[in-house]
Amino acid sequence: MIEFTHDGPFAEKADPLFPGRVRIIGLGQTGTAVCDQLVLRGRPSQDLWVLDSDQQTVEGSIVPNRHLLGQSLVHGLGCSGDIELAREIVAMEEEQLASAGSGCDFLILALGLAGSTGVALAEHLIQMGHKAGAKVIVVGVQPFGFEGLSRREKSIRAIADLRRDADSVLVLSPDRITEDSHAMKDVRTGFHVMHQLLAQAAQALSQIVCKRGLIQLSFADVRSLYGRYSGSEVLENCWVAHVEGDIHDSVEDMVQQLFACPLLSDESIWKHVDHAIVAVNGTCDLGLSDVQQLVGVFKDRLPVNIPIATSASLDEETHEKVRMTVLLAMTGPGVVEKPAVEPQPVKKPRPVSDTVPLPGRPAKLKLEPTATEPAPAKPKMAPAPKAKPAPVPVEKYVPAPVEEEVLLEVESVATPTGPGRKSSGKRFVAKQEEMQFEAPTRGRFEKTHETMYNGENLDQPTFRRRRLAIKL
């Protein structure tokens, strides 16, 4: 009787060297629309799920893997913005949600941040994902300014909560597209454009974290831009632009279309942007020179001098097509307004047995507190400013005026031609001269193999990865 066992890193249960299973889950009404957009854009290689408590939304979705939650509690009518009710649904559907949060390496959650079902589900799925060893990226959109104060406050609180637990949180502001005449043609088009932008961001992220191609970025790059904050929180931190074209199309035309995208046509964003990720995806004929040309032209047209990280991957199914997605990021506190509400602790579902059951809800819901697992690379954030007791005034988004000093540095903040652009009449001059395809130098460890841990290159200085401020 001879028995051999191993529990080392090469055991069967050990993780594969290059994990890459991505699952995109649309949460709530907005998330469902985002996943629908992904299906409409072509056969997605990712595992798509849709979860909501609104029967109409779920049944109207074209995503095959869709789930209606809390049927017995809300009868398919949704939560109507009641976050506590949404958390009860989450507690009730824990078994079903367990399968949604496991079995993948990267979990991308798309949701509207002012919703209730989406936010409650996101809180739970982040924990489930971390328990299963997955990295969780949240792609969320704030409500429009005209949607009201309460929804705005809810979104601010949701952002703070999600940023505390998720590995990366990308927040888009739909108010940016109010400057775009096409997007604001009618309400339906406005929301459609916003959903498209979220879908493009989710798809670009999935390409970056899992696809292996010509030029490889990793989850660490995403987390370094959207996962850590040194000192203070910001709300909007992501701007997306996407363009698709034929491989024989003019590069200049493609880049021009890119700059005409709704979020980039608002020239005030260049005050905030400090990093960019360019994800290029194309047919097998796509060469390094093509990528270099695309990124080079893009860089020339950029009105600010920012570092650009590029990912290029090949896709056999995109016949003679080239897709270019740009994710702009603001990593520092910047000049964007600070949250008026401090991060709240994760609220445990309140025990229903202690309260009087609401009409139409089951009185005996066994709710057990779920174990909280810290995110592997949780940023050490300084506490956000204290919440003001007085209600926060409604702030309709007004593009901040370009300050004098920025003008001096940038020379021109005009964007290229597009339907909604605001040109200053000056020709902008790009500052950046060289492409940055490679990671920053590792100094003394340049000749050695990289020491990687949880997707981070430990040879890079820690203070830089954690974006700690250094006084020189």
Partner: protein, 411 residues
């Protein structure tokens, strides 16, 4: 030069990222060890304990051995080598055997058979074994013992902790020494060697984690109930602190290293918010003022990250929930200010600076934590020599001759 049959000389060699050191010791007839002397020199082209430039590294090894020979008046013919590097892995394994003899009595042959079975276990491709460390034996009733010979049991299970590394990396380090016509008699994992120098038998029994903060890597080893239960190597060490300072403050490497040692701390003190440190000028370096808080922030972030990663690794190991021991910290990078305070904030158990066990001989090196591994390796060599008779007579003469011939070629 003197060497004779009566002297049982053991030499320990460590090719580190910062320096190459060789210690010469003598095992006295009563079995005790006396340190005769140490030769050391700066290490060149060794990063994270792996050789980057073979010829440069070999030159450093030769210089260190030559200095050791000069100081101790001993001809070095064979060495015990410390092994480390981020490629080193470990796992726990167990092998079982049915006892079928009369009375089901366990004999030494059974133990040997279990050991053979453990060594025959397959390793991952391209890996070679470094250690098979016995943890304990378990009888058929579930009871465990360190020596089951004479006991009766229908089944005997041996628990081992095995350490292995990439064969090519191990070969490179060994070849670097062997090409100087010096035999590598045996090798030991750096952290295992370190533990021999800083842990007593009682500490191993109570439970202890030894973290050896080196220049290129940070080794750690965990003991519980007297047995090794976990080993790990993180490819980040004191050089990374210096490299971060270089990158953050934009100063040359040598200045950063000096600044780290003299002014740096891994504890942030709010009182030092506005304090500045003056970097003296040199012929090619203008005098500069550095914010102390910047220096300390850079160092604190890196050192805290190292501890956090080690802690996370330990917490994922099966032994951790029952661990009630102490974390001992040693190594060259442990001399930085505030290290124990920082470690105490991170590890949820007592943290102490490790102290070397007393030894006979040259006492000039007794208070240097950067030599813990080397002195521990000497202890390891002593134990090995006492178990197996040393090479003597003609074999030793032939080794010396080979070395003399090789030296003629090299020069």
């Amino acid at each position: 030069m003197f060497w004779g049959k009566s002297r049982n000389i053991v030499v320990a060699l460590e090719v580190g990222s910062t320096k190459v050191v060789a210690a010469v010791g003598e095992i006295r007839p009563d079995g005790t060890l006396a340190l005769l002397g140490i030769g050391e020199g700066p290490s060149g082209q060794v990063r994270k304990c792996e050789i980057v430039d073979f010829e440069v590294a070999q030159g450093c090894v030769r210089d260190a051995l030559a200095e050791a020979e000069l100081k101790t008046d001993v001809v070095i013919a064979e060495v015990y080598l410390a092994i480390s590097g981020a490629h080193v892995r470990s796992s726990n394994s167990r092998v079982s055997l049915a006892i079928n003899n009369d009375g089901d009595e366990i004999t030494p042959e059974h133990l040997q058979e279990l050991h053979d079975m453990a060594t025959a276990q397959p390793l991952p491709a391209d890996h070679a074994i470094i250690h098979h460390l016995l943890q304990h034996y378990v009888l058929d009733d579930g009871s465990s013992t360190d020596n089951p010979v004479g006991l009766a049991s229908k089944q005997l299970t041996a628990h081992f902790h095995q350490v292995y590394g990439l064969a090519t990396r191990l070969q490179t380090t060994i070849r670097c020494v062997k090409e100087l016509s010096i035999d590598v008699k045996n090798y030991a994992l750096s952290s295992y060697a370190t533990a021999q120098a800083v842990l007593t038998r009682n500490q191993k029994q109570l439970g202890a984690v030894v973290i050896n903060l080196g220049g290129g890597v940070s080794d750690y080893i965990a003991y519980q109930k007297g047995a090794v239960v976990y080993t790990g190597v993180l490819g980040v060490g004191g050089d990374h602190l210096t490299n971060d300072v270089v990158s953050g403050l934009k100063i040359p490497y040598a200045k950063a290293e000096q600044l780290k040692k003299t002014e740096g701390s891994v504890i942030l003190d709010p009182a030092e918010e506005e304090e500045r440190v003056t970097l003296p000028g040199a012929y090619n370096f203008e005098e500069r003022q550095i914010h102390r808080v910047s220096l300390n922030t850079i160092m604190q972030a890196r050192q805290a990250e190292i501890f956090e990663i080690i802690l996370e690794d330990l917490q994922n190991a099966p032994f951790w929930p029952d661990f009630a021991g102490t974390v001992y910290i040693t190594g060259g990078a442990s001399q930085v200010k505030g290290l124990i305070e920082l470690a105490a904030q991170i590890f949820p158990c007592p943290v102490e600076l490790a102290h070397q066990s007393p030894f006979d001989g040259d006492q000039n090196y007794s208070r240097r934590p950067d030599l813990s591994t080397l002195l521990g390796l000497l202890q390891y060599a002593r134990q090995a020599e006492l178990e197996v008779p040393a090479t003597k007579g003609f074999a030793r003469v032939s080794q010396s001759l080979r070395r003399a011939l090789a030296s003629m070629k090299l020069f």
